[in-house]
């Protein structure tokens, strides 16, 4: 599904990713853990195509195709979905208007027929119910005046509706209390399938109690420095990241 | 409303003339003949022992000035000035130059003592103040003393009267004088270029952080005399200087003209911080007398990453016409303008700034606080512009006005011009009064109405005050209270 080879990325001449290699198989849930500043969020932005980063070297392959030359919309149409750490507020754009625009844009890019409004409404309503998103929220401008938990649920709602191949969750647990975290995790778990891969980026092990990963990668100083099973997360929780910082520096 | 109204009424009853610097020093002076002609220009140039190129520069400016028309776009109103009915040069008799304080007329020394300006270095050292301030004292048309010159020389800093710089450092003066404010810039600047008498010259060499605050203290004393000072500050690569300027004048019935030019040049990575506390005689409550303050101040951020910051506290002058500006030429350069302008009685203030973004990644910030009381008019006039090449220019402007009483006016006239899509400009302005709730709250806590107004006004201007050097900030705070105490609220 996703294969990253020797990825080197700078921002403003500062090196953030430094020869990163990573493979995520079809249907796999991979967690990336690491200390602050290790480059986790950068990785999520570079996979989804944010402009501010300079890719100096390496490749990102999605189903064997290098996506580095594609703009964010083209990557999204191929099935890359990023659940933002800080979802953006869009004053003046109604949530339904937004959902209709993005769902149809992706369908159009894939050569599929556009959804009719009733069909779209039905899909949104069903998915919203699953995530305890009420109709009132759908009537407001996107993310405008939403609480932290509401914004994260709205991200998962979009994930459910857009049916991506690769879901990247960037610190999805940040700013969530335990109840909100459960709702979000249930939403994600419901979307797990043999055809869909997840890259779950988190600083804390807590999220992984609810979204149980198949693989855990440890990231430090712009590289994957260790890979293991889900037990690795517990080890990190107990011992912290100190060892890895040192290891990467050597 | 009741509380404020009461304050207004009560304060109206107080004797208006609270100007504390209105005394006159009686001196014998030598003056140029009254009026303005090429002869006047030559007289001044000769008095200053200037080289021929400087005399010519002045004459060129004078000829240009004769073809120019006084500007009328500012929101100020005054009777036509008769430029032939004033003296353009006045110096204390037997004045031979500021070589030693011992030669300075004791009356002048007394004047500065009275104004609280220390001219004797030892007095200053013996004082309780911990930080040193070097002073250039300009009395009418001449610099009477410059302190700490020797100590500054040790680190290569040149701090001297501009008349001396023209003689001693012609290469620097020729290179920079008029390079920021051209001799043809505007009516008042051109007049200044022709007849400027004294002012300060500062050069900070590459990489030097000026070891003390530099300051100039301007005093107009003589009757019917205009003061035309000229200041030129050059901060070479990577250097830093903080410069302060203060002004006062005796209380007189007739208006006097003050038309200064200040030029700042900041080269690569240099920083200049320029602070002014302007307290020229504002005229009495009915608008009799007071200084016409027509000033051109401009800084050129010529080098990359250079920075110029203007801070001004304007409480004096009958008319203020003043727009300290920054030309942000160097990439990544930064300009700031922090202003408190208080008008009272019949004062008219038209002041603000220009931030001209020419280079890439240039940033600027404008914080202006205007307070209008009495029958005064207080205008903020500002321009922010981004030229085609000024990618990623940023400006934030905040100008707030406070009105005290219903006889005054507060006006905001910003020009915001962007020719670059990546430039981001944000401007906000508000006008309001001191709320009854705020007044009541303060008074309920035991403040008198006057104290409450002073407290609230000081809170209103706090964002600007904190940009003044410490000693000045304290002075300025007092000055603000006095200015308002003086006439209304």
């Amino acid at each position: 599904m996703l294969e990253i080879r020797n990825l080197v990325v700078d921002i403003d001449d500062k090196r953030i990713l430094n020869g990163l290699n990573l493979t995520v198989n079809k249907g796999e849930v991979a967690a990336i853990m690491g200390p602050n500043g290790s480059g986790k969020s950068t990785l999520s932005y570079v996979i989804s195509g944010k402009e501010d980063y300079t890719v100096v070297d390496g490749e990102i392959l999605l189903d064997g195709e290098n996506i580095l030359e594609l703009d964010p919309a083209e990557r999204a149409a191929l099935g890359v979905f990023l659940a933002f750490q800080y979802p953006l507020e869009i004053p003046g754009v109604g949530t339904m208007t937004f959902l209709k625009a993005v769902m149809n844009a992706q369908r159009k890019a894939r050569g599929e027929a556009e959804l009719t409004t009733p069909d779209l409404m039905r899909r949104v309503r069903e998915a919203a119910e699953e995530l305890s998103i009420n109709q009132e929220m759908l009537k407001r401008p996107l993310n405008f005046g939403f609480s932290g938990g509401e914004k994260k649920r709205m991200e998962i709602l979009q994930m459910a509706l857009l049916e991506p191949k690769l879901c990247i969750l960037d610190e999805t647990d940040s700013g969530l209390d335990i109840d909100a975290l459960k709702i979000v995790a249930d939403g994600v778990n419901a979307l797990r399938s043999p055809d869909r891969s997840f890259l779950v980026i988190t600083h804390y092990q807590r999220l992984l109690d609810y979204i149980v990963p198949d693989t855990v990668h440890v990231m430090a100083n712009g590289r994957i420095v260790r890979t293991g099973g889900k037990e690795l997360a517990l080890e990190l929780e107990a011992n912290g990241y100190a060892d890895y910082r040192q290891q990467a520096a050597e | 409303m009741a509380a404020v109204q009461e304050t207004v009424d009560r304060v109206k009853a107080i004797d208006v003339d609270q100007y504390k610097y209105g005394f006159e020093t009686v001196l014998e002076t030598e003056k140029a003949p009254k009026g303005l002609s090429e002869d006047t220009v030559r007289y001044i140039s000769a008095k200053k022992n200037e080289p021929e190129w400087m005399t010519q520069w002045r004459l060129d400016a004078f000829r240009r000035w004769q073809t120019m028309v006084e500007p009328t776009w500012a929101r100020v109103d005054y009777p036509k000035i008769d430029y032939q009915d004033a003296y353009y040069y006045s110096e204390p008799k037997n004045f031979s130059g500021p070589d030693s304080l011992d030669d300075v007329d004791p009356e002048i020394l007394k004047t500065y003592e009275k104004l609280g300006i220390p001219l004797r270095e030892q007095e200053l050292l013996a004082g309780v103040k911990t930080s040193k301030v070097a002073v250039d004292a300009v009395f009418d048309s001449v610099s009477v003393a410059t302190t700490f010159k020797e100590e500054l020389k040790k680190v290569g800093v040149i701090f001297c009267p501009i008349s001396e710089a023209i003689r001693e450092h012609p290469e620097l003066v020729k290179k920079y004088l008029g390079s920021v404010v051209p001799a043809s810039d505007n009516f008042f600047a051109t007049l200044n270029s022709a007849v400027f008498t004294d002012g300060s010259f500062v050069y900070i060499p590459e990489g030097v952080r000026c070891p003390m605050e530099l300051s100039t203290y301007f005093r107009i004393n003589e009757r019917n005399t205009g003061q035309f000072e000229r200041t030129l500050i050059i901060a070479d690569k990577g250097s830093y200087v903080s410069y302060l300027e203060g002004c006062t004048a005796p209380q007189r019935d007739e208006h006097q003209l003050h038309a200064a030019v200040v030029e700042l040049v900041a080269l690569e990575d240099a920083e200049i911080k320029y602070s002014t506390v302007q307290n020229w005689f504002p005229g009495d409550a009915e608008g009799k007398g007071g200084i016409y303050n027509f000033v051109t101040k401009r800084g050129d951020c010529r080098g990359d990453r250079s920075k110029i910051s203007w801070t001004q506290v304007e409480t004096g002058s009958a008319i203020t016409w003043k727009y300290p500006s920054c030309i942000l030429r160097g990439n990544g350069s930064n300009g700031e303008f922090y202003s408190i302008a208080i008008s009272n009685g019949r004062q008219q203030v038209d002041s603000g700034t220009k931030m001209i973004h020419l280079g890439k990644n240039t940033t600027s910030r404008i914080i202006s606080k205007g307070i209008a009381a009495g029958k005064s008019d207080n205008t903020y006039r500002g321009q922010v512009s981004a030229h085609r090449k000024a990618s990623n220019a940023r400006n934030f402007t905040n100008c707030d006005s406070l009105l005290i009483g219903d006889q005054c006016g507060a006006h905001t006239v910003p020009y915001i011009e962007s020719k670059n899509a990546s430039a981001v400009f944000e401007h906000e302005a508000t006008t309001s009064k001191i709320s009854d709730d705020q007044m009541f709250y303060c008074m309920q806590r035991g403040l008198s109405d006057e104290e409450a107004v002073a407290l609230i006004v000081n809170g209103f201007v706090k964002d600007v005050l904190q940009h003044l050097p410490m000693e000045f900030a304290v002075e300025a705070q007092k000055l603000i209270s006095i200015s308002l105490e003086g006439s209304v609220g």
């Binding site: 402009e51 754009v93 | 006016g409």
Partner: protein, 439 residues
């Protein structure tokens, strides 16, 4: 600036002076109207076409922009008028509201019959000495404006509309359409009087043929009596080579609810000036604007709002979107006079620059003489937010579509000022059409 320097007359000014001298005696109205024309023309002649030296025209040098002053077009016959109107509609979906139609500046329709609304042709009213003509030029604040004065000097074509309380919630369209074989100029004038307690939706649309360099100097005056309600919407979709100067002059009585929204998108050059004076307490004022420009278009919106009496509220929101090498100007001045205590005035102008070579000039002004007021203005300019653009693209929207969505959201706020849904739908369609044409 010297007193004895007489400015040289441009070709346009010389033509206007000659035209006035030739026409002065044949223009409709009695001797009082004649004096009024002469006074107005004198005022115009004193300054000529305004230059940057007049502060209100700081960014718009009409002397340089209006190089000539083409002759007025001939009065179109009924068939021509019908064709021009049919081909030059500002709105994609016609409104079911009675209309007064103008072609090339001439009133070409019979006034519609609306209960409680009296409409007379301006030239007839002037010729007959109708008392209502005395209310033309009621707003002192505007009268010094040279372009308004020029219109006053030549006024003939237009209408006087009077809405009485009996009309209920009346609606009226003023449709201006322009098309001819050669460039021409027009100067229509409409006076709308809304009586005490009366209510009116006034929709003013301007459209014209593309590629035709015609000039318009249109004036609409609104006088709203105590307790009246007026919703005014104005669309400037003139032809792409047109130069359109327009003045909206509004006098409000006590407790009036007034809103005006203007969309500018069509002409090569436009200058829309709004003068609004509050004569009675308790007025509630909302003024909005949306301007969309591309190519080398130039559009200036200049607003002067005079709070002369206490207890009025005003909200102004203007949005400008600039593509290619276009230039936008917004000047807004809020005046609060000494006795206008408790005024609450808030004005905002925001501009979005979509292309590197676009230019925006903002001049929001406050002129305040009363102390017990709350006034504020804000101005911003910048480009589309990068992070938001990325967010939308990461959801799969192609760049142009993501930009369009953001622009639409940006313009949406002032569009909300338009209460009528049929009008708002048309405005949204115009915005969408403009965005679609970006490609």
């Amino acid at each position: 600036m010297g007193a004895d320097v007489k400015p040289l007359r441009t070709a346009a000014e010389a033509a206007l002076i000659a035209r006035f001298q030739a026409a002065a005696n044949s223009l409709p109205g009695d001797s009082a109207t004649g004096r009024r024309r002469t006074e107005a023309f004198d005022r115009f002649e004193k300054t000529g076409l305004p230059t940057r030296r007049i502060e209100e025209f700081h960014y718009t040098d009409l002397r340089a922009l209006l190089r000539d002053a083409p002759e007025p077009a001939a009065r179109p016959d009924a068939a021509v008028a019908a064709t021009v109107l049919a081909h030059n509609a500002a709105f994609p979906a016609p409104l079911a509201i009675p209309s007064l139609d103008f072609v090339n500046g001439y009133l070409v329709s019979q006034p519609p019959a609306i209960a409680g609304v009296d409409i007379v042709a301006l030239d007839a009213a002037l010729a007959a000495g109708d008392a209502l003509t005395g209310r033309i030029g009621a707003l002192e604040l505007a009268q010094d404006n040279p372009m308004l004065a020029l219109n006053t000097a030549f006024m003939a074509e237009g209408a006087i509309v009077r809405v009485s309380k009996e009309a209920g919630d009346a609606g009226l369209q003023l449709r201006f359409a322009n098309a001819a074989d050669a460039p021409f100029s027009s100067a229509p004038r409409v006076l709308v009087i809304v009586d005490d307690g009366a209510s009116l939706d006034l929709i003013e649309t301007h459209a014209g043929a593309s590629g035709l360099a015609y000039q318009v100097n249109a004036v609409v005056e609104i006088i709203a009596g105590d307790g009246a309600r007026v919703n005014h919407t104005r669309i400037n979709a003139e032809g792409d080579a047109a130069q359109a100067v327009s003045t909206l002059s509004v006098s409000l009585g006590a407790d009036v609810r007034f809103s005006s929204f203007g969309l500018t998108t069509g002409p090569a050059m436009s200058r829309h000036q709004i003068f609004l004076g509050c004569a009675g307490e308790g007025a509630d004022i909302t003024i909005g604007g949306a301007t969309m420009l591309r190519g080398r278009q130039f559009a200036d919106t200049t607003l002067t709002l005079d709070h002369a009496v206490p207890n009025c509220n005003s909200r102004e929101l203007f949005k400008t979107v600039l593509d290619d090498e276009s230039t936008g100007v917004f000047q807004g001045k809020i005046i609060v006079r000494q006795h206008a205590q408790k005024t609450d005035g808030r004005m905002m102008s925001a501009a979005l620059l979509l292309a590197e070579n676009a230019t925006m000039n903002n001049k929001p002004e406050l002129e305040i003489f009363a102390d017990d007021v709350q006034c504020a203005h804000g101005a911003t300019c910048g480009q589309l937010d990068d992070d938001l653009l990325f967010y939308l693209m990461a959801r799969g929207l192609p760049r142009k579509q993501a930009e369009a969505l953001m622009v639409e959201a940006f313009l949406g706020e002032p569009l909300e000022f338009v209460a009528r849904e049929d009008v708002r739908d048309n405005l949204v369609a115009l915005v969408e059409g403009w965005l679609a044409a970006r490609g």
